[in-house]
Symmetry: C2
Amino acid sequence: MNTLAEENYLKSIYHLASNAEMVSTNQLAALLNTKASSVTDMLKKLADKELINYTPYQGVSLTPAGERIAINIIRKHRLWEFFLVEKLNFKWDEVHEMAEELEHISSTELIDRLDKFMDYPKYDPHGDPIPDCNGKFKVHDLKPVSAAETDTTGVICGVRDHSTPFLQYLEKLGLTIGKKIIIVDIIEFDRSMVLKMETQTVQISREVANNLLITL
Amino acid sequence: MNTLAEENYLKSIYHLASNAEMVSTNQLAALLNTKASSVTDMLKKLADKELINYTPYQGVSLTPAGERIAINIIRKHRLWEFFLVEKLNFKWDEVHEMAEELEHISSTELIDRLDKFMDYPKYDPHGDPIPDCNGKFKVHDLKPVSAAETDTTGVICGVRDHSTPFLQYLEKLGLTIGKKIIIVDIIEFDRSMVLKMETQTVQISREVANNLLITL
DNA sequence: AAAAAAGTTTAGGTTTGTCTAAATTTTTAA
DNA sequence: TTAAAAATTTAGACAAACCTAAACTTTTTT
């Protein structure tokens, strides 16, 4: 088995790799709230275990074995988040910290039964896909609201920013997962956007529109 | 907050203290699968934090602060065990290891909501009492089957041995929590006991009778 | 009440994961 | 294309939690 620290590194590498192919030492240090030198130490250890491909000064990527572990941790994280929201009635902005701990509970049997208990959910409370017990999942084709034109209709299916303040703000506006919106206006001046929903109309900044994801 | 190791020491001291007032270094070393010298190190640390009363060579006891922490860990352990059995359909002999990990999840809010979700259970799957959110619980007055006389009627309410083989054996005999039994015979020769249940009659050794707890 | 045995602590090390400071490599810019 | 800046690695330390071996207390036995 792997240590808690190792699991967190693998998970972080996986997340960072979704943007750029290669992940740098400093990126990891920033995400993990640690120093570059500590990251280097751990990268050597993970490379020894053949969980990452590491060339000094050139960055890292996950090996298939490393990716399997990373996806499994993400599966656990998202299933626990789903549990916390759907069964224990937490709000979507309250669950991240708890899931960061719960994702390291080791039993595979436990997580598979939890999955079944909740009837195999496909997406977590933030719209992120939940890998199945074989690590398979499909990312649905999302784009930021900011990329849509006037009169476009879409359904909110995810967020780019997972921070508590952002999630609370969206909650307050009623912009939650599954809501249908129509872009009724884009303000030239600051490119803020006016969205029409079932029962109300709200205006959001470019910044918010960039971090709110919809399917068309 | 306390480390995982500290929590496990406090929990172990609590459990051992239920038999003898004072807990010895060697008892702890045995229960925690570690060496006496390691125990001594940790005892100094816990004494510094004022979680235990420690006099070198004389053993330890918990301070009120230490007991509070220990009871909270036990509360979490037993609530998670209840969850695993009642919601995820694990058997009573399968849940200990998982609960050993889950008991260290830190959120109080999480455990209180889990408690509510399960409707505030009073006893875990092995019949042990679950402390409430204030750390209060009542031990019901149990005695081993071996202490009962012929023709006594009782209800199985707990076990003294929590090991997997013992629990599996009881399960196989149908001797599970809540079952009503009548002691119909005690064999002179080896003091084994014949128990009559709803639909069957079983015979158990003195050893088993010693570890099976009933209320009268 | 000594001597032996059992239990406990101290001294000195190890591993994991972190750190700071210095050295090295790569990238950027003049 | 070389000098400066940025990124990364190495060297040497540290805290937590464990270890072995040796020393010290307490208890038991004779």
